[in-house]
């Protein structure tokens, strides 16, 4: 049954992808890419990767679509027709790449095969050590935040870099329009029903974001997804009540502080491990009981991830919205 669902979803994804390439209308392309992400998330879910599915749904289908739309508001709705000869070369390159990937799959182990190398080598150790050394139910969280916590620190800094990049490029002095012009551009104040429904939704999204943040050790979730959800609820508020009201609640300076402090919190936990006699990112030394130390470390670094992701996503949104044209 799973395989039927999988094939069905993959076919839909293929159709969506072709439609994205074919369409000249950028608004349609953005909507379709949201659908693509949602299908992808469903696929991840079928493969039992609930954490990844949640991230893809929150970031790919949610936040990216909003950001694309904000970017689209600054540019034209239709793409200019590219040269057709380039298109053929591009098609050839993409086809060859696809064929190579397909060729590589001929010898790969069957999906879900318990004898596959990925299930034989490091995975059993992770399962055992999550129980013995960290004692939390979600193995994925244990791998992400402790066993391979250095990678996750790197990913937080990828998000951080992206945020710095957008702020650096879009917040050019002079490029920002006067405050009076931006007021009320992106808002739905005069639409009663979306506004009422939206306002009712915001607290629930926020609450769900917090749940995902603090429940990451027990179920799917963690800082990345929570950050995206919390940012989504505030972006919704900005859309409903106007960007200025959102900025009053969370000013730019505070957002910048959030971006930096989340990254510093994560890094600081790593350095604390070093100062207390362990290696970098060794959480066991944070408390007298190594298991408690691991749990404390994971909660702290997940908080750092959530803070930075929220800050970056909101800053990026405001940076786009502030450049709005009329």
């Amino acid at each position: 049954m799973t395989i039927v669902f999988g094939v069905f979803l993959l076919t839909l994804m293929l159709i969506t992808a072709i439609a994205i390439v074919r369409t000249q209308n950028l608004f349609v392309a953005v909507m379709l890419s949201g659908i693509f992400s949602l299908l992808l998330a469903s696929n991840f879910f079928l493969l039992d990767a609930a954490d990844v599915a949640l991230t893809e749904a929150a970031v790919g289908a949610g936040i990216s679509t909003v950001l694309y739309l904000s970017a689209l508001a600054l540019s034209a709705e239709n793409e200019r027709a590219p040269y057709s000869s380039h298109r053929l070369i591009a098609l050839a390159v993409v086809s060859v790449t696809a064929l190579l990937v397909i060729y590589a799959t001929f010898d790969q182990p069957r999906v879900g095969d318990p004898a596959a190398p990925v299930h034989q080598h490091v995975a059993p150790w992770y399962l055992e050590m999550t129980r013995d050394a960290i004692d939390i139910p979600n193995v994925v969280t244990a791998v992400l935040s402790s066993f391979r916590g250095y990678d996750t620190l790197g990913e937080v800094f990828v998000v951080f870099t992206a945020g710095i990049g957008v702020l650096f490029l879009l917040d050019k002095p002079g490029a920002r329009h006067g405050g009076t012009q931006t007021v009320g551009r992106v808002r739905l104040r005069h639409y009663l029903i979306p506004r009422l429904v939206g306002r009712m939704l915001i607290p629930f999204i926020l609450l769900f974001g917090l749940y995902v943040q603090f429940h990451g050790e027990y179920g799917p979730g963690g800082g990345f997804q929570a950050g995206a959800l919390i940012a989504a609820s505030i972006i919704l508020y900005a859309l409903l009540e106007g960007e200025t009201r959102a900025l009053q609640a969370l000013p730019r300076r505070l957002l910048t502080l959030l971006i930096a402090s989340g990254a510093l919190l994560y890094g600081g936990v790593g350095v604390a491990g070093m100062l207390l006699g362990g290696n970098f990112l060794d959480y066991s030394v944070l408390a007298s009981d190594p298991v408690k130390g691991q749990q404390l470390g994971i909660i702290l670094i997940e908080a750092g991830v959530g803070i930075t992701v929220t800050g970056v996503l909101l800053s990026v949104f405001h940076a786009f919205a502030a450049r709005g044209r009329f």
Partner: protein, 496 residues
């Protein structure tokens, strides 16, 4: 002290990385500059200390989070990473010091804290790639360094920086994605991401197809990032339109670090496992290297934008580096690695000299600098001397690596004479394009140059430091040579 020593591989990354958020929070641009420079110098000191301990003990290992490898992430510093770490941190420090007086003209003061944060992230990303011993961790830090480099390049005052950076971004992202596909396939077949563990377990993999495809994806992806001909198209414009000191930093390191990963994977992981890998590697890379050397030098000869001229010369110099590697011999790889070091020295000195010129000349084109040597004697002398090193005149660093390259090609059989001819011809071409600039600056007259003034001391000092290093390492190539040759023996799996 010894406790600190053990943490150095981690601190090499952590110091610049955690300084980035702090640099962003500082509102005063001078303070952020000071913090960035201090962090970069600190990273340089760590790199020197790591190099010394590599020379003493052969290498260092570090377990992130104290989890044992291959389950946790392991860092490893050996001769090859030490060599590259010296270049990256050294070039970053010199460029930042020069940036104090050069960047104010290109980037608004209020945006500078963000710029310095991006700089530190680029530095941390490059260092992260160099110290890690984990295939996926390389990808993570490649992303950090790449994103940060896009930001740095886009900081240029010229609006043409934006299309240049967009091209760089698209190509760089394809490169990183290809690398990730390759690593994914390797993980699928071996179940591990630790490089040493991959080498150990890949021997037991019976099915060759996925590994073969992985080798292709990883090599092509990294070749894109390393600007190996004909995948270099992003490079000239990205270098041309970036702020001047950013060009110094990127030209010295970013392509080199991609080359480092390329060589690591091909020689350590794929060569022992895939049949005839060395032959295929050579057949693939040798003609491309020769083309890069000839085409790059030829375009540079006819280019009148000075930065783009040096950027095309970089395409040719990357050709020398890959030429050495494609010989698949200890001598060839030693020459190749040594040239990575020496070219970084020569190019950063040349681009620093251009940054000095840019203080007085608004458009860095050859027709605008006529007679400028009278007004800016120190700058042009630095350009001339660094140019000698790029050409490979005896007594300079450039000569040492070219000499090793020529000896290595002579040993490589009947093709050797042809390869030597190509190296000699392209060196003559380098004489032409350096001479054009020198002739114009010393023996022509234009109006614009009359009002020129010598660059400030803060710019001249790092420039001359780089120039003098070219001569120092030309006369005493001991340390880089020792690192290169032990790295070459490591790559080819022979005991030194």
């Amino acid at each position: 002290m010894t406790a600190l020593q053990a943490h150095l591989p981690a601190l090499q990354v952590v110091v610049p990385m955690l300084s980035a958020p702090l640099a962003m929070l500082l509102r005063e641009h001078r303070l952020s500059w000071a913090l960035a420079t201090a962090a970069s110098l600190c990273a340089f000191a760590i790199a020197i200390s790591l190099t010394l301990s590599v020379i003493d003990t052969g290498g260092m290992r570090y377990l992130m989070g104290s989890w044992p490898a291959p389950f946790g992430i392991e860092l490893g510093v050996d001769a090859m990473s030490a060599l590259l770490l010296l270049i990256v941190t050294g070039a970053s420090s010199l460029a930042l010091i020069a940036g104090a007086s050069s960047l104010d003209r290109e980037i608004e003061v209020e945006r500078q804290p963000l710029f310095y944060a991006a700089w530190l992230l680029a530095l941390a990303g490059l260092c992260g790639i160099l110290v890690t011993a984990d295939a996926f961790n390389i990808f993570v830090f490649m992303e950090i360094s790449a994103l940060a480099s896009y930001v740095l390049v886009a900081g240029g005052p010229d609006r043409r920086a934006l299309p240049a950076v967009f091209k760089y971004l698209v190509m760089g992202t394809i490169g990183a994605t290809f690398y990730l596909i390759g690593v994914g396939l390797i993980y699928l077949m071996t179940g591990t991401l630790n490089l040493d563990d991959i080498v150990y377990r890949i021997g037991e993999v019976a099915e060759v197809k996925p590994i073969l495809i992985a080798a292709g994806f990883i090599s092509v992806g990294l070749a894109l990032k390393a600007a190996i001909f004909p995948l270099h198209v992003w490079l000239p414009n990205a270098y041309t339109f970036a702020p001047h000191v950013v060009t110094v930093f990127l030209a010295a390191c970013s392509t080199k670090v991609a080359l480092y990963v390329l060589l690591r994977f091909n020689f350590v992981v794929f060569k022992p496992y895939l049949e005839d890998h060395d032959l295929k590697f050579a057949i693939f890379l040798l003609p491309l290297s020769l083309l890069a050397i000839l085409v790059g030098s030829a375009v540079a000869m006819f280019e009148s934008n000075l930065k783009r001229m040096l950027a095309w010369s970089s395409v040719a110099q990357i050709g020398y580096i890959t030429l050495g590697a494609s010989l698949v011999s200890v001598a060839g790889l030693t020459a190749s690695l040594l040239h990575i070091f020496n070219h970084a020295l020569a190019k950063s000195a040349l681009f620093l000299a251009l940054a000095c010129l840019a203080i007085s000349v608004s458009k860095l084109r050859i027709e605008n600098i006529g007679g400028i040597a009278k007004r800016m004697p120190w700058t042009m002398a630095a350009f001339l001397l660094a140019g000698l090193s790029l050409i490979g005149v005896p007594g300079t660093a450039g000569f040492v690596s070219k000499w090793y390259l020529i000896t290595a090609t002579f040993d490589s059989g009947p093709l050797g004479i042809l390869l030597v001819a190509v190296i000699v011809v392209s060196s003559l071409m380098a004489v032409v394009y350096i001479w054009r600039v020198v002739e114009c600056a010393y023996f022509r007259e234009t109006d614009e140059a009359q009002s020129a003034r010598e660059a400030p001391l803060m710019l001249l000092l790092p420039t001359w430091a780089a120039v003098l290093l070219n001569f120092y390492f030309g006369l005493f190539p001991g340390v880089p040579l020792e690192l290169s040759s032990s790295a070459a023996t490591l790559l080819l799996g022979q005991t030194p």
